[in-house]
Structure formats: structure tokens, C-alpha cells
């Protein structure tokens, strides 16, 4: 927990320094060169920029810990409220993408491991190379082209909210989730394959087969269970990457998530919103990474003893 706290402190320091220190005068960035000196001074006072840097940082972190990420200059509402409202799109999208990723990657990786150095294995490896090479946003555009433009099965973008029904909401997120998760399966498929191969070489697997156990039972009860440790840890790390990737996919499918909120805020020079979104997403990614480290120790007693 201490490690997580220190890391999150560094995250907050990085976000603060980039926005407050790098540009020299953030008030000038917000108002722009066309703004009057009075407007600059007003913004400076409103954001507390006239106080010493250390005081600004301590106050800002203190407020952030209480859930106060400042106020949006563009919308004049709390940034935290904006983040929470946009999470209703970004979070389900990330989770759906992760589910697709796991549903494809794990069976494919198991298949490759059990058909090592045969055509099935080579095909999986080739597919996974393609998966890594294809940008998710290009995959998204191609899915729009096929399923929305040519087949008309889906809308090309937009999200009407969960008020229209969970089914409609999930349908709107289906194509972006597939684009995001399906092509990220490559890393997880390779990890599954490597982990399975590692365990398949163990003596107890030979023993299980020698005892006459069905191959399916050997694979799922003995091999996959023990291979799940590295698979889960990589999947956990991928979750953070998927969250970052969702920022791009939201632009492909015009989804009102965190990513489009931040990109819109850049155009509007709404620094508090950009700061808030980046701090939130970075903190989530760091927390996931630390949780994965802890999970690894929980699942594998050998790591704890080391």
C-alpha cells in the first residue's frame, strides 16, 4: 500500500508539474494571447495560481483526495462530475473489450499450445502477429465500413445513453469493443500459449496422462489452472492499456467517453478538465498495475516466499 501511495503521489506530481510549471503561466494558456490582462488575472486568482507552487500542489492534491478535481472552465461544473458521467461509457467499453480479448485469446492460446509446431500453432502465431500490427482505430474504421456502411447492421457511431435500454447501449458499444479487444488478443494469446507450454512440460502432467485421465481433464484441471497465474497478470496489465486505447476508439465511434471529453477540453483550453481526466486515468492504470503485482503474489505462493 505504501508503494501504491508513493507511486500515486508521483503521478499527481507529474500531472501538476506539466500543467502548472511547463507552460510558465497556465492562466495565459487558458485565456490565450487575445485575452486581456484583467482576464488573465481573474483566471489566475480563480485557479489559485497567485500562491506559492508548493501551496498550490498541496491544496490541489488535498482537494483531489476528497474527490474535488476543480471546476471546468468550459462547462462551469465540477470536473469530477464530468469524469463520472463519462465513465458510464468508457468503463463498459473497456470491460467489454477485455471480455472479448479474453474470450478469444485464452482458447486460441490453449489451442496453439496443444498443437505446437503444427499448422494450427503457426496459424495462431501468424494471426497474433497481425493482431499486434493492426491499429485498433483502423480496425474500428474497417468495422464501420463493413457493418455500418455496407451491411447497415449497426450505426456508424454515437451513443444515446443507457436510458434507451441496456441492449441498445451494449449494441452501440459492440463494434468499438470488438475493435479494441479483438486485436489486442495477440499479447494475451501468446502469453497463454507460453504459459501452457511451460506447464505441459511438468512431470505431474505426464503423471496425470499416465494415470489415464482424459486429455480435456488434464488440460483444464491441471494445466490451465496452473497456467492462469501469468495469464491473469498479463490480462490485468492489458486492462490499463485497453483503457488508454478506448480514448482513441471513442473518436472513431463518436462515443461521449473520457477520451472525447479530454480532447474537447484541449481545443477549449480547459486545463482543469484535461488535468482531471489524465490524473484519473493514470491513477487507475497505476492502481491496476500494483493490484496485478499483489495478485501475482497471492496466486503464486512461491513469489511470496521469495
Amino acid at each position: 500500500m505504501a508503494t501504491l501511495a508513493v507511486t500515486l503521489l508521483f503521478v499527481s506530481l507529474l500531472v501538476f508539474l506539466v500543467v502548472r510549471v511547463l507552460p510558465g503561466d497556465p492562466a495565459l494558456v487558458i485565456v490565450g494571447t487575445e485575452g486581456s490582462p484583467e482576464a488573465v488575472e481573474r483566471i489566475r486568482k480563480a485557479l489559485g495560481l497567485d500562491r506559492p507552487l508548493v501551496v498550490q500542489y498541496v491544496e490541489w492534491v488535498g482537494h483531489a483526495l476528497q474527490g474535488d478535481l476543480g471546476r471546468s472552465i468550459q462547462y462551469d461544473v465540477p470536473v469530477a462530475g464530468l469524469v463520472v458521467s463519462r465513465l458510464s461509457v468508457t468503463l463498459p467499453l473497456t470491460v467489454m473489450a477485455a471480455v472479448f480479448m479474453a474470450l478469444v485469446a485464452i482458447p486460441v492460446g490453449v489451442y496453439a499450445a496443444t498443437h505446437q509446431r503444427r499448422w494450427g500453432d503457426y496459424a495462431v502465431m501468424a494471426l497474433s502477429q497481425l493482431g499486434v500490427a493492426v491499429p485498433a482505430f483502423w480496425a474500428g474504421l474497417l468495422l464501420v465500413l463493413l457493418f455500418a456502411v455496407h451491411l447497415g447492421w449497426f450505426k456508424s457511431g454515437g451513443f444515446d445513453g443507457w436510458g434507451q435500454g441496456v441492449g441498445q447501449g451494449l449494441k452501440a458499444l459492440l463494434l468499438p469493443a470488438v475493435a479494441l479487444g479483438l486485436f489486442q488478443f495477440a499479447v494475451l494469446a501468446r502469453t497463454t500459449r507460453s504459459a501452457m507450454l511451460e506447464v505441459l512440460r511438468e512431470e505431474y502432467v505426464k503423471t496425470a496422462r499416465a494415470k489415464g485421465l482424459a486429455e480435456g481433464r488434464v488440460l483444464f484441471r491441471h494445466v490451465l489452472r496452473n497456467a492462469m497465474i501469468p495469464i491473469l497478470t498479463v490480462a490485468g496489465i492489458q486492462l490499463g492499456q485497453l483503457m488508454a486505447g478506448s480514448i482513441v476508439l471513442e473518436s472513431v465511434f463518436y462515443l461521449p467517453g473520457l477520451g472525447r471529453l479530454a480532447i474537447g477540453a484541449i481545443s477549449a483550453r480547459d486545463l482543469p478538465v484535461v488535468q482531471g481526466v489524465v490524473l484519473f486515468v493514470a491513477s487507475v492504470i497505476v492502481t491496476i498495475n500494483v493490484a496485478v503485482d499483489i495478485l501475482y503474489g497471492v496466486l503464486d505462493p512461491r513469489i511470496r516466499y521469495e
Binding site: T3, V6, T7, L8, F10, V11, L13, L14, V15, V18, V19, L22, P23, P26, V29, Q129, L130, V132, A133, V134, P135, F137, W138, L141, L142, V144, L145, V149, S156, G240, Q241, A244, G245, I247, V248, S251, V252, A262, I263, A265, I266, R269, L271, V274, Q275, V277, V278, V281, A282, S283, I285, V286, N289, V290
Partner: protein, 274 residues
């Protein structure tokens, strides 16, 4: 022996071939493209592949083949500089962390844990909030995202090697820290760093394309594959080739570089050498 093994390694050969084609295309585009990548022609807007325009044209009638060729330069430049930034600063941090250890090591590694929370897109969002989006921003943002991996790799090597006999011997003979780091430990760290650089290069190309697509990287009218995909989005129904060729260029480039990196890693694996 290594060359013979290399040529027998199919992955390495395919990867090398694609990389050579990429570099040749980029180099050629500096002196020749079928048309001027910036030349507009309103009468030739949004055409599919034709004899005059093998890849078609964009919304301003600009030749897509020429823009895809010139876009290779942007990708390579951003890739090289971003990896250079990540490697340069990351290795420095890793050396200090791994060699000296103690509270410096602890502090730097917590800092790297924090930096790991900033994928290139997040760094670019943050930096673009205060500076105008540009290709330089994407280089810095992507480079920052690579810091942790190079720092950790260097640190791991130094932790392993700093207490070895040959280092102790050098120290006993009066070698200072700088000499031990530069002449004795660093050369033994290079191999994994080179492999990591070849792995990071295609990642940088993908990241640059994503940032350009979001409007946070290369700005119009300069050709960039990601920017072309951004521009193509409004015309998917009218001219799908506008999206297909730049995306295909990205995928083919990244595929080739990944195969090269994989092949290089296998060839440099000490268990297989000799």
C-alpha cells in the same frame, strides 16, 4: 555463422525485407514521388485507384500514393527520435538506479511506476493541453512512455552484473565508477537494449499514427498515415480506399518491424548462439 543462421530464419528474413522496403520508400520519397504530396486538384477529389492515382485521391484531390510514401518519413522520424528519447533517458536512470542502488533506486523505480501510468496517448493529452499539438509533442510523449521499459531493463542488467568478479577485479585495479559503468558493464547490457529498441520502434509508429489520428501529432497539411485516417473518416462511404491504403501501410510496416525484432531476439538468444 550468425549470418547463415539469420538467412535461414524465415521471420527475420521477411521482417528484414519489409523493413528494407519501408526505408527505401521513405528515402525515395525525399527525392521522388509520383505527384507532389501537397498538390491539390479539386476536379480529382475522392477518386478510387486509377492509372493516374494508383491509391486514389483524398478530399482535396491530393495523390494518396505520394502521401503514403511521404508519410513513411514521418513514421520513421518519430519512431527513431521517440525511441532515442526513451532509451537515452531510460538507460541513464537505469544505470544510476541499478549501479548505485539504495534510496536512489527506490525513488527512481517508484517514479518509473508512475510514468508507466502514462501511455503515450495520456502523455500527449497532457502536453497538448499546454502546448500546441505537433509532431514534436508526439515524439516527446511516446519517448516518455518508453522510459520505464528501458530503465528497468538497464537496471536489471546492472543489478546482475555490478557484483560480478570482473567488476570487482576492475575496481581492485583502481577503475572508477565511470570506467566500470562505461567500459565493463554497459557493453554487456547493449544486446537486450538493442532488441528492446527494435521492439519499441513499431510500437512508436503505432503510437504516432494514433496521436496523429486524434489530432495531437502531425498537423495538416503534412502527410502522416494517422492523419490520413483521421481525414478519411468523413468519406468512408464515398471512397473507402482513402482509409484502406494508409491503414494498410501502418499494419504492413509494424508487422515487418515486429517480425524483424522477433527474429533478432531469437538470433541473439545466447542459448541458440554457438
Amino acid at each position: 555463422m550468425l549470418r547463415a543462421r539469420a538467412l535461414r530464419h524465415v521471420t527475420f528474413v521477411i521482417g528484414l525485407a519489409v523493413t528494407v522496403v519501408l526505408l527505401a520508400t521513405a528515402a525515395l520519397s525525399l527525392v521522388y514521388t509520383p505527384k507532389d504530396p501537397l498538390e491539390m486538384s479539386i476536379t480529382s477529389r475522392l477518386q478510387g485507384p486509377t492509372g493516374a492515382h494508383p491509391f486514389g485521391t483524398d478530399q482535396f484531390g491530393r495523390d494518396l500514393l505520394s502521401r503514403v510514401m511521404r508519410g513513411a518519413i514521418t513514421s520513421i522520424l518519430v519512431g527513431v527520435i521517440a525511441v532515442g528519447i526513451g532509451m537515452g533517458i531510460g538507460v541513464l536512470l537505469g544505470v544510476v538506479s541499478g549501479y548505485f542502488g539504495g534510496w536512489l533506486d527506490e525513488g527512481f523505480m517508484r517514479l518509473m511506476d508512475a510514468v508507466q501510468g502514462f501511455p503515450a496517448i495520456l502523455s500527449a493529452l497532457l502536453i497538448s493541453a499546454v502546448f500546441r499539438p505537433s509532431v514534436a509533442i508526439s515524439m516527446v510523449a511516446i519517448g516518455v512512455a518508453f522510459l520505464p521499459v528501458f530503465a528497468r531493463l538497464t537496471r536489471a542488467s546492472f543489478l546482475e552484473l555490478r557484483d560480478r568478479d570482473f567488476v570487482s577485479a576492475a575496481r581492485a585495479l583502481g577503475a572508477g565508477d565511470a570506467t566500470i559503468i562505461g567500459r565493463h558493464i554497459m557493453p554487456n547490457t547493449l544486446s537486450p537494449l538493442i532488441v528492446q529498441a527494435t521492439i519499441s520502434f513499431p510500437v512508436a509508429i503505432l503510437a504516432e499514427a494514433a496521436l496523429a489520428y486524434l489530432g495531437l501529432g502531425t498537423q495538416p497539411p503534412h502527410p502522416s498515415w494517422g492523419l490520413m485516417l483521421r481525414e478519411s473518416q468523413a468519406f468512408l462511404a464515398t471512397n473507402p480506399w482513402f482509409a484502406i491504403f494508409p491503414g494498410g501501410a501502418i499494419a504492413l510496416t509494424v508487422l515487418g518491424l515486429n517480425l524483424l525484432g522477433d527474429g533478432l531476439r531469437d538470433l541473439l538468444d545466447p542459448k541458440q548462439v554457438g
